[in-house]
């Protein structure tokens, strides 16, 4: 008879082997060029694009972090970013696809570099992409490592769990590229929806008899959790509104999400998948119910552990094991997409301009760099730096600064490379000042909004004085 801690690894190993098989098989015989590896040959259809999107959007943060926020801040966690980002995909996605296809872009940095004919802008975008992606990957690894550590009661330590899960990721990203990630994402998307929803309703039913009972008791005992600004007065109207607006600007500026638009076979598919995204977002709201349920049952635990703690109290062993695999898969798909985008950016935008390789060699370089970026993220994950949250929050503000430049590209505004570089530098400077400097943003406004407020006028003013000179040089 297997012990509790032995059942979880059996399920997890079975799951990892399945993902490895799907990931390798997804790309078998279809990877002949760097475009095939990084963008699936620009031929992804509706099912793959949809599941890659939800796989990247709903990471382990949706499974573990958001219920923790709901536990801590109540309905403040219902910030409807996932609700509204499909509008951005529907609006900007087809335009980004068109420019990306014309420029033959593999990455976001190449997209900007090609449009403005600027190697400096391309390198700048590449460095920002790596600064954001590698810590983000590390966070996903930390999620995977913690899950195995907690649920096996330390028998699979953090370092081993993270190493094993992301070793599998590195192998299938190396072998299958985006198409491999796509097939793993299909498996994960369906698995997470079925297992996650089943577990959530089991937890809520066990303690409260149903959703109605949960909210009735919460409204009686702790009503502050059911309205803004929440019990700790953290989520004010200003914080909510500016966070939502900056998230909408920043979301698709993340390099791995941006490059997804290049991989789709037609703009029609981008629009179709956008229709279904808000419906999948309902799932993430359902996961948060466990956070609400934990408020009265476990009044003083670490917020991020509320999901695991609640599930372990209610579910039988096999269900706990399935939950672990679902949470692990969520972190792995997001981590896989980030590793591919980071390797492509490093190889294509920082090394290729110096090395000038033929395409088969470039493809091989990007494949090898997948191991390099995963290893870099693993080192960060092992160090577990306290500042990692700040790095990611800053990266979010930084990526939002690409939004005006993206609009300038897709709408063909009169903007010069110098204008773009100056705008990004100004935006980054403002964000760095408020994140690392002595002053906090006034009135709880998100630093990214303040960055954009400086970024946009800088872009137009500098372009006005440099556009004519650049046109002459070209």
């Amino acid at each position: 008879m297997l012990n509790h801690w032995q059942i979880v690894p059996v399920f997890v190993i079975g799951f990892l082997m399945t993902t490895l098989y799907l990931g390798i098989r997804g790309g078998r015989g279809r990877i002949h060029s760097s475009t095939d590896h990084v963008l699936g040959g620009r031929t992804l259809g509706l099912a793959l694009v949809f599941f890659v999107s939800v796989g990247e959007i709903y990471s382990s943060v949706a499974f573990l972090g958001q219920p923790g926020w709901a536990y801590q801040h109540g309905v403040g966690m219902l910030l409807p970013v996932g609700t509204f980002i499909p509008l951005m995909a529907f609006w900007l996605g087809p335009r980004i696809w068109q420019v990306g296809k014309t420029a033959g872009a593999l990455t976001q940095a190449q997209f900007f570099g090609a449009r403005f004919n600027s190697q400096l802008l391309r390198a700048m975008a590449a460095v920002v992409a790596l600064v954001g992606l590698i810590p983000y990957m590390a966070v996903q690894m930390m999620g995977g490592g913690y899950i195995l550590d907690i649920t096996t009661r330390g028998h699979i330590p953090f370092w081993l769990g993270a190493l094993f899960a992301f070793g599998v990721v590195a192998i299938y990203v190396y072998s299958g590229g985006l198409r491999g990630i796509g097939w793993v994402a299909v498996f994960k998307g369906i698995f997470m929806a079925v297992v996650g929803v089943f577990i959530v309703f089991r937890v809520v039913r066990f303690y409260y008899g149903g959703i109605s009972g949960l909210f009735t008791r919460l409204a009686t005992v702790s009503p502050a959790y059911l309205t803004l600004p929440g019990p700790h007065h953290f989520v004010t109207y200003t914080f909510w509104s500016t966070s939502l607006l900056i998230s909408l600007c920043a979301f698709y500026m993340w390099p791995h999400l941006f490059a997804n638009f290049f991989a789709v076979k037609s703009p029609r598919v981008i629009r179709q998948q956008a229709i279904f995204l808000p419906l999948y977002n309902v799932l993430s709201t359902i996961f948060m119910l466990v956070g609400f349920a934990g408020i009265l049952i476990l009044p003083s635990i670490k917020p991020d552990t509320v999901m695991v703690e609640m599930v372990m109290r209610v579910a039988p062993l096999w269900l706990v094991a399935l939950f672990c695999t679902g949470a692990l898969s969520a972190s792995m798909v997001t981590g896989a997409a980030c590793s591919l985008a980071a390797a492509a950016t490093l190889g294509n935008d920082l090394l290729q301009p110096q090395l000038k390789l033929q395409d088969p060699e470039l493809r091989k370089l990007i494949q090898i760099l997948v191991f390099f970026v995963v290893a870099a993220a693993y080192v960060i994950a092992l160090l577990r730096p306290a500042t990692i949250v700040y790095i990611i929050l800053t990266a979010y503000g930084f990526t939002s600064q690409f939004f005006p430049l993206t609009l300038a590209v897709v709408y063909n505004w009169k903007v010069s490379a110098a204008g773009g570089i100056a705008a990004l530098a100004a935006g980054f400077g403002v964000i760095s000042f408020f994140v690392f400097g002595p002053l906090s943003p006034p009135y709880g406004i998100h630093a990214g909004i303040l960055g954009l407020a400086v970024n946009v006028p800088t872009m137009f003013v500098v372009s006005r004085y440099t556009l004519a000179r650049e046109a002459k040089l070209i």
């Binding site: 509008l87 200003t238 629009r271």
Partner: protein, 63 residues
Amino acid sequence: MKKGPRLLWLTGMLLVLSGIWPILHLVNRIDPVILGLPLFVFYMLLLNFAVAGFLLIAFRMLE
């Protein structure tokens, strides 16, 4: 911009505005409870279906 796309763009903007202050102020309450959900939670869920419906209509208009 033609009339159809302009209308779609404005409707999309209105949808986003419906998720931020000051509309937020109107729905930031527990009562009335709808389908067992506090008004605020119900409203946030409803927005998902509103966006999906809007995008479906927009898709049909554009394709």
